[in-house]
């Protein structure tokens, strides 16, 4: 199977087609930034972009990702290493506590900003509802998304 991940082609052999993309990323390709949290698409820790759309990789068979454009947290910053405005805002606003959910949160937020560069609180609620933060950093996630949006405008 050939997978297009973060603008790079990866060949994966000997993997059952029904294997969720999550485990192919983590175990076969060493891209461990995408996290396992629940395995049933409830927590959002495994969120990646499939052709730019936020997708729960724990519930997507790898066969369905073949031929699609996949972006993971490792590919969110630009090629020259410049952080995505959301990553910078996450640091600036000291969002993470344990940090385990944050890759998924960032991927959902990045997809939101692509669609709505200046999201309202209601937009944030709708786009981020699928991502659980067990530590409860929601107030900071909201602030950081607004801050990143504002910065992109300036």
């Amino acid at each position: 199977m050939r997978l297009q991940i973060n603008d790079k082609e990866h060949v994966v052999d000997g993997v059952d087609e029904s294997t969720p993309l999550l485990w192919v990323l983590r175990d076969h390709l060493g891209l461990v930034g995408t996290k396992y949290g629940c395995g049933i698409g409830q927590c959002g820790a495994c969120t990646v972009h499939l052709n730019g759309a936020p997708t729960r990789s724990c519930s997507l068979p790898v066969s369905a990702a073949v031929g699609q454009r996949i972006t993971t947290i490792e590919g969110l910053a630009s090629k020259d290493g410049k952080l995505h405005p959301l990553q910078a805002a996450w640091i600036e606003h000291d969002v993470p506590q344990c940090g385990y959910c944050q890759a998924g949160q960032l991927m959902s937020a990045a997809a939101l900003l692509k669609q709505k560069p200046d999201p309202t609180d209601a937009d944030i609620d709708a786009a981020m509802n699928g991502n659980i933060c067990r530590c409860g950093t929601y107030p900071r996630i909201r602030k950081a998304i607004h801050a990143a949006a504002k910065q992109a405008h300036e």
Binding site: V15, D16, S18, T19, P20, W23, R26, D27, H28, G30, L31, V32, G33, T34, K35, Y36, G37, C38, G39, I40, Q42, C43, A45, T72, I73, E74, L76, A77, L83, Q87, W90, I91, E92, D94, V95, P96, Q97, C98, G99, Y100, C101, Q102, A103, L106, I124, D125, M128, N129, N131, I132, C133, R134, C135, G136, T137, Y138, P139, R140, I141, R142
Partner: protein, 754 residues
């Protein structure tokens, strides 16, 4: 009684044993406050300080130790290239110590924070003392150690500069990694001084002058987490991210009812499945804190192991397994609620007389079992080889895991090496090291390195749960509207019939017992086999809901303003446990209560269906008062608009980290109060994933406003004490908004939804 039955009945003994072991580590540190610093030779020059605590420190001091006694690990290293490396000694579980510990050292060192690098220290309690995260004790138990580590290094750098300049140390100051002699306008950087400082003797600790709080440049500021850059770019920080050469991926199926043993299983069928490399029946040690019986499946990938496990069929021998039933426990508790319990915890004054003379208030409160549910499911990577084991574990207590794992494997403690990974959420779950014991034993039995991965379902079915419980209260109000009598029949659980299960005990001194003339606390213990353990702010997280809600019932019955009522109970400012700075201080309590009320606009006019609720709780040496503002519509749709928090934890180390902990505590407290409950029947948890365990999501998170009273008392922890007042503040606000008294958690039981 069979050995297996004994194991079940006394499962809690092992939990308590684990907690005592963790406690012992901190006691050693506390007793040896007079810490001892030693120089460590560094290749390439530079200053490095190794830090000795505990009995070893005493031994070293007494024996005038030689070179070979020096520890290989250091607290901080200053290199001639100008970099300052600080080792963070404690587990980072999201509470922020990987940033706050180095900040304390850097403050006393007067280091340029922008040049400080932080690395996780090796797990070596002989060198570092306590290396665990629990009880909000990281800051109070390490505060002196870390300040002295920084101050010692600073003193040596100053001494090196004075030798150079031939001036007195008193004429020198330090700032931003430089020693300055203002009189002659000279300065030397720490990098220039590092090698010279390393050649000097370590100063006597008594000669060190620690900074006054007013001189702090770094402490109290908002500093972003040192690992944030790695978190937001997806670097392999966590236990689940570890990969070691030749490792196989393991899953482990245990009986869903605690204590079940492997009977028949289709092991041969599983061995033939794609990717499966080995299938093992693990007998285990029979202790939930170590290894319970089960079937381990090893495979070439996590998913191959998970997929094979779906075909695994085990007939469990449940002859000695838990048969616990939550619905039966509720019925049993309700039956005895009206009477006093058989155990007397406190009996002062004459409660019945006081109640009969005044106005009587009654209330029966219920709260459920809950799971820790850290977002990173339990996991551990282990490699057993030649009688030694190396482990990569997301643990809150790596120090006590050393001996525990050694015992399980039957090897000496020195043969266990643990690498501390970042921890994807603790909340008390990872005070236990069962996953580490399992991984180590599976690696030993399989003869290969393994990464053990629990599924979410494993995590929720094999937790050390926050125990549910019941409080049957009576209160007495005198003619002047004053609370004069307090009776609580506490109905809890016990594993051995003797003592309450871990997290399910009630202190005889529990607030407001020490502040009222007539108090009766009694207790009933229902039987339980399911393991329980500390869950963020253990005891307090449930007791505060019941006590602070019932206090509000009393003030309502007395037709008093709740703020004034609470302040009256506090009375004159004093320590409740005289001379103990970590006990409740009624002055500090009153101050946070007043501040929270003032900032929340207590007493302001609100539209119909909107209300404010106030609650206070003291735990983990922290005084916290909170005001919740809610709206409730006719269909019991609940909106938590805002929670205003006032806390006193002494001086704040990292303001950003402390505020983050409080914000998270409020969200966690609301999440749990709103909709989280585990029911169990026939020993099995009915809720095993987030579809039936609805953690709060972003649309429903309230605005959290945090205010700290930065007193000059010793700094204490903030991971837990802001959580307990959240639920009662919300419930009291619901009463203010609707007149409905919530006596059962979660709120969803009474039909509240968001």
């Amino acid at each position: 009684m069979s050995a297996a039955e004994q194991t079940i009945l006394s499962a809690d003994d092992y939990v308590q044993e684990m907690l005592r072991a963790a406690e012992a580590q901190s006691t050693v540190s506390a007793l040896n406050r007079r810490s001892f610093l030693k120089l460590v030779g560094m290749a390439g020059g530079g200053l490095a300080l190794a830090f000795y605590v505990g009995d070893r420190a005493t031994a070293l001091a007494a024996t005038n130790s030689s070179e070979q006694d020096f520890a290989p690990n250091a607290f901080l290293r200053i290199s001639p290239d100008g970099s300052i490396l600080i080792y963070a000694k404690g587990p980072e579980i999201g509470q922020g110590v990987k940033t706050s510990f180095p900040m304390i050292i850097a403050e006393e060192l007067d280091a340029d924070w922008s040049k400080v690098r932080v690395e996780q220290a090796a797990v070596n309690p002989t060198v570092y003392g306590r290396q665990s995260a629990g009880g909000s004790r990281s800051i109070p138990t390490n505060w002196d150690q870390l300040r002295r580590a920084g101050a010692t290094a600073r003193a040596m750098l100053v001494a090196a500069a004075t030798k150079e300049w031939k001036v007195a140390a008193s004429e020198c100051t330090t700032e931003s990694s430089n020693v300055v002699h203002a009189a002659s306008n000279r300065r030397l950087s720490y990098s220039e001084l590092a090698t010279k400082a390393a050649a000097l003797p370590v100063p006597d600790e008594q000669s060190l002058k620690l900074k006054d709080r007013k001189d702090y440049k770094l402490l109290g500021k908002r500093i972003t987490g040192v690992d944030n850059i790695n978190v937001v770019t997806g670097k392999p920080l966590f236990g689940i991210d570890q990969v070691i050469p030749g490792m196989q991926y393991a899953v482990f199926e245990k009986c869903p009812a605690t204590g079940g043993k492997v009977g028949e299983a289709n092991l041969d069928e599983i061995r033939k499945l794609p990717g499966v490399t080995n299938v093992l029946v693990i007998e285990g040690t029979g202790k939930p804190t170590e290894v319970m019986p089960g079937v381990a499946i090893l495979a070439t990938s996590t998913y191959a192991a998970i997929a094979a496990r779906r075909k695994l069929k085990v007939n469990w021998d449940e002859s000695s397994a838990s048969k616990d039933s939550w619905s039966k426990a509720v019925a049993d508790a309700q039956k005895v609620a009206k009477q006093n319990g058989p155990d007397s915890l406190r009996n002062t004054g004459d409660v019945d007389a006081a109640i009969s003379k005044g106005k009587a208030v009654e209330g029966f409160y219920t709260y459920p079992f809950v799971s820790h549910a850290p977002l990173e499911p339990q996991n551990c990577t282990a490699s057993f080889k030649d009688g030694a084991v190396e482990i990569w574990a997301p643990s809150q207590t790596p120090d006590s895991a050393l001996g525990l794992v050694a015992g399980v494997l039957g090897i000496p403690r020195e043969k266990v090496t643990i690498h501390q990974t970042r921890v994807g959420g603790g909340f008390g779950r990872r005070l236990m090291n069962d996953y580490a014991c399992e991984a180590a034993l599976i690696s030993k039995q399989a003869g290969v390195p393994v990464k053990l991965q629990w599924t979410r379902e494993d995590d929720m079915q094999h937790d050390f749960y926050r125990v549910g419980g019941f409080h049957s209260f009576k209160g007495g109000i005198d003619g002047s509207g004053k609370l004069v009598a307090w009776s609580d029949h506490f109905i809890t659980f016990s594993q051995d019939g003797q003592k309450p299960t871990s997290g399910g005990d009630l202190s005889p001194d529990e607030f407001p017992a020490l502040l009222l003339p007539n108090v009766r606390l009694t207790q009933t213990k229902l039987p339980l086999a399911i393991p329980t353990g500390p869950w963020r702010a253990p005891r307090s997280n449930s007791v505060a809901f019941a006590v602070q809600s019932f206090l509000h019932e009393c003030s309502v019955a007395a037709k008093r303003d709740h703020l004034e009522f609470l302040l009256e109970i506090m009375g004159e400012p004093r320590w409740l446990d005289q001379g103990k700075e970590f006990s409740l201080n009624t002055g500090r309590a009153a101050a946070v209560i007043k501040l929270a009320a003032e900032k929340a606009g207590w007493g302001k006019a609100l539209p119909k269906g909107r209300g404010l609720g106030l609650a206070f709780h003291f735990s983990h040496a922290g005084h916290f008062a909170e005001v919740a503002e809610v709206s409730v519509d006719a269909n019991r749709k609940l909106t938590l608009h805002k929670v205003t928090v006032a806390g006193d934890i002494g001086p704040v180390v990292n303001m950003s980290g402390a505020e983050n902990q409080v914000e998270g505590s409020v969200v966690d407290g609301f999440s749990t109060a709103l909709g989280l409950a585990l029911s169990y029947e026939n020993g099995r948890m009915q809720e095993t994933n987030f579809d039936r365990y609805p953690l709060l999501r972003i649309p429903h998170a309230p605005v959290v406003e945090v205010h700290f009273i930065q007193s000059d008392y010793p700094p204490t922890g903030v991971g837990e004490p802001a959580l307990p007042p959240v639920a009662p503040a919300i419930c009291n606000a619901i009463f203010a908004a609707t007149g409905h008294r919530v006596r059962t958690l979660p709120l969803s039981v009474d039909g509240f939804k968001v």
